[in-house]
Amino acid sequence: MKMDVRPPVLAAERLTVKVGHRDVVRALDFTLQPGDTLVILGRNGAGKTTLLHTLAGLRAAAAGTVLLSGQPYAAWPRGHEACLRGLLAQSQPDFFSATVLETALVGRHPYLGRWDWEGPEDEAIALTALASMGLDSFAERQVPTLSGGERQRLAIATLLVQRPRLYLLDEPLAHLDLHHEVAVLDHFRTLASAGAGVAMVLHDINLTARYASHVLLLDGAGGHIFGTVAEVLTAERLSAAFGHPLRAVADGTATLFVPA
């Protein structure tokens, strides 16, 4: 593990993101090293998705720079960025039918040439990813027959097939039951400990406390707090950011945050 010589997975330098005339973040600086898990917290409409899309290079920043593996997105050869970072977008409706396996294979797109077809290796990668999300027996099912939670796991499996170095996850736990919430976060923790970087939008403060190494808390007006879990997750700061009083409850092994 020569982590020290590799560039950070993701870095933001004086990054300002706007939606219309409203600031999402002003002058954000942070670095995501291999092994780090960043959770972005903030109230509805604070701009978490917009920020995540900016970090994914899909949206221009108002000012500042996003560095993917040490370089701005524009400096990577076109299409290569998709081998380095993957995005789990919020679920979108499907208008056309496809099988689960076909859908998962979409994640191999960045690795295939214009005329290539997915081969047995690609299928093996896709089946492994499906198995890791408990979908291996679903490979031939049509996507519209899946439940919401199953579709979400399929979207995650598709992202895993992409095998990027940086995982950007927009509400990865949407539609998932408790067991799969923990299983998905455990899986990304394993990937992070193997050298990936993970940045995700979550709404669950207690899961954030359990899985994050760093937290970015947006106040909804352009202000932000970035730091380690211990630095950012305090009842006072969370209450201010969410506009609702929260209380920290210690149960001996962990501190839980509950609405007051």
């Binding site: 977008a89 208008f95 056309f96 099988t99 076909e102 797109h109 093996a124």
Partner: protein, 341 residues
Amino acid sequence: MADGHTAARHQPVSMRHMRLRARLVIAGLMTAALVAFAWSLSAGAMPVSWHDLLAALGSGESSMEADIVRQLRLPRAIAAFACGGLLALAGALMQVLLRNPLADPYVLGISGGAAVGALGTILAGATAGWIDTGAFIGALGATLLVFGLAHGDGSWTQTRLLLTGVIVAAGCGAAVALMLSLAPEGRVKGMLFWLMGDASSATRPWPALALLGIGLLAALPFARELNLLARGEITARALGIQVGRLRMLVYGLGALLTAVAVTTVGSVGFVGLIVPHLVRLAIGNDQRLLLPAATLAGGVLLCAADTAARTVVAPIQLPVGVLTALIGVPVFLFLLARHPR
């Protein structure tokens, strides 16, 4: 497709099966195309036996049968096949572009514009060649108008494009109705035939056939990207696709294919809507297979429909668009009832 590899320890799943099936379907469609051509060339007021048909096509010698086959039926069969393929290909592209399975080549006002152009030239008393020119200019005009209006501020949402197209098409419909009511009696029938779609006047089918080949070859390199586009813009962009460029290509190509088809045979309905659907049901939605299969199926359907249109109630010739609509409406309703989503 890496068929050289044996499927290792992994159970071969649906993908290989799907592709095999798709290739069988495409081979079947090629056979169907040959049969449709043979039927189209042999059937008519003067039936030509298959033996004479081969003789007429194979040798340059002149006989009445050979002249009918080579100068009347062959251009018409090629025109019908080419335009059916153009419309089906354009329909498949539009359905991906708009992420809407109900989209067809005409949804963005292209046929409306062509109709305004064609009927305008008929109303002005122009000859057949000018009608084609008018239709083509009208189609391109409507395309640019919709594109300009929907894309004016740089944003591009499917809904906005679709609504703009629907409104422009409605405007063209009003203009068409106005011209029909103003037209002198003698020209109305020609106008109606044009509107319903009619291959009888298609004497120069080669541009349509050439464009069919070029269009398919231009679309196929982007077929896997289209698969991703069908899943949504953010997903496609996150996987490295230049969505803006791809949409321009699909829109421009779809519009050009449609414009040439309506210029050649008028606005034949339902081929561009039904054929991609039928093919999707048979082989799935992988554009790499769907685009060529839909192109072939559209060609076969229109070639066969046109032959039926000029033979079922001979000597009266029906406009082929009436037949495709008569076939298309029940088929579509059946599909809709089978897939209640």
